[in-house]
């Protein structure tokens, strides 16, 4: 595990199990955010270090040798530190007024926004990827390129359309129902959202990302910094999924004739299931018992 983030309250270990290409997609998506847009720099730094660590362990030559780079820096760039502007920042530039370029400000604060669009992207991506690749459920066994679908999804992050902020005082039960209510507003009446959550968790926000191919709902439930993420992806077309497990650390929990695959990754539990044209997941630090109780709660409304 990279050094950065070790002492942080968030667990970024899911990134350790993603492919380098996937991580690069996340970095690319982050780089395309407007400069003042919220970005989870802690997560981004972690990802950067995962890639660098892999390169160190299995060199591909993608990075210049550090010593050579330092020599070039000392020879070519270090003598030029009187100018604290970017090489491409031309003081008399008229580009800014015409193109909206914002040049390097006098101060560069370290920004760490706890809740951001990107954090939604990376954590949900992490959840989905972790359950695919950190577990023994193989991607190819899904019967379609979910890996590719996820990668494509990260490119669609600009489609985030609405965010419903929920006050911290909301009652837990009301919080739990909010997600299903949000789904209902999009015409989704299938029971997909849990109505029970472990004590202390309340809904923090719901992000909805719409693209032509899918609508993604991401609900974050928070309990003093611990998060449970519920992801529901409504696909335009129903892919022909084949789920398969080939290991012992995947538990299949069937409720309402729907198979829910429960996987553990360190302290995290990831649950994934599919029904109709919906892909759903639950991710968080949970006990197996609580995970099963959350799953049960999805369907209780139907049986009551």
């Amino acid at each position: 595990m990279p050094e950065f983030g070790k002492n942080k309250h968030k667990d970024y270990s899911a990134f350790d199990n993603m492919s380098t290409e996937m991580l690069e997609d996340i970095l690319r998506a982050d780089s395309q955010l407007p400069i003042n847009e919220d970005s989870d720099n802690e997560a981004i730094l972690y990802i950067m270090e995962v890639i660098a660590k892999r390169e160190k362990e299995h060199p591909t030559g993608r990075f210049q040798d550090g010593h050579q780079a330092w020599e070039s820096f000392s020879e070519n760039y270090l003598p030029f530190i009187e100018d604290d502007k970017s090489l491409y920042d031309f003081e008399d530039d008229f580009a800014e007024e015409q193109t909206g370029i914002k040049y390097l400000p006098s101060t560069i604060p370290f920004q760490s926004h706890k809740k951001s669009i990107l954090s939604r992207v990376v954590f949900v991506t992490a959840a989905v990827i972790a359950l695919l690749f950190a577990s023994t459920v193989t991607a190819s066994a899904f019967g379609f390129n979910l890996w590719g679908a996820v990668a494509q999804w990260t490119r669609d992050t600009f489609g985030f359309s609405t965010t419903a902020s929920i006050s911290e005082d909301s009652e837990q039960k009301d919080s739990a129902n909010r997600l299903q209510n949000e789904l209902n507003q999009y015409g989704i009446t299938t029971a997909l959202a849990p109505t029970w959550y472990p004590d202390g968790y309340s809904l923090e926000n719901i992000d909805v990302a719409e693209t032509p191919a899918r609508t993604t709902f991401i609900a974050t439930f928070d309990n003093n910094g611990q998060e449970i993420l519920i992801t529901i992806v409504a696909m335009t077309d129903s892919p022909n999924r084949v789920y398969e497990k080939d290991g012992d650390d995947v538990t299949v929990y069937s409720v309402n004739q729907i198979k829910h695959y429960i996987m553990t990754n360190l302290d995290n539990i990831n649950v994934v299931w599919a029904t109709e044209n919906y892909e759903c997941s639950i991710s968080g630090v949970l006990s197996l018992k609580d995970a099963e109780k959350m799953i049960d709660s999805i369907y209780e409304r139907n049986s009551s």
């Binding site: 780089s31 720099n41 760039y77 003598p79 530190i81 604290d84 031309f90 560069i108 604060p109 920004q111």
Partner: protein
Amino acid sequence: MGLNDNQRRAIDELYQNMFNPLSAYAQSALNDRTLAEEAVQDTFRIACARADKLLSSPNPKGWLLNALKYVIQNMVRSRAYLNSIFISSLDFDENIILEEADVPDPDVDLLYSDLSVGEDYKLIKKIALDRYSMLEAAQELGISIEACKKRVQRAKRRLKKRLEEKN
């Protein structure tokens, strides 16, 4: 404005630790290894210029990442802008669809051959059309990146003036 020993040591350590992670970010953003490397080097150059700010930051790595983001954004947009004004300044036949790769070097050179600052325009062409990094262009001309930046700046001013006169 130079670095004291402590600043040099601290930045050296940051460089060793962060060159590759920052390169990973820059390569993902720019999809060009040479330009990515320049973005990271430029970030550390700025870090040296603002060493007091960097080293007093509660999170120097985060500071560097934010600096890199600004550098990348400046680089992308400024290069696109250079490209745009350079292309606009070319008096091509309206029916010619201009593609970067299709710009015939001799035509461009001929177009500016009547200018006393032909070398500067060649420099702009290398940056804007040929995707040279500032360092590559500087090395080819046998000048420093500081001089190269000033030349690009000057050439751009002249291009602007030329465009205004044309309009």
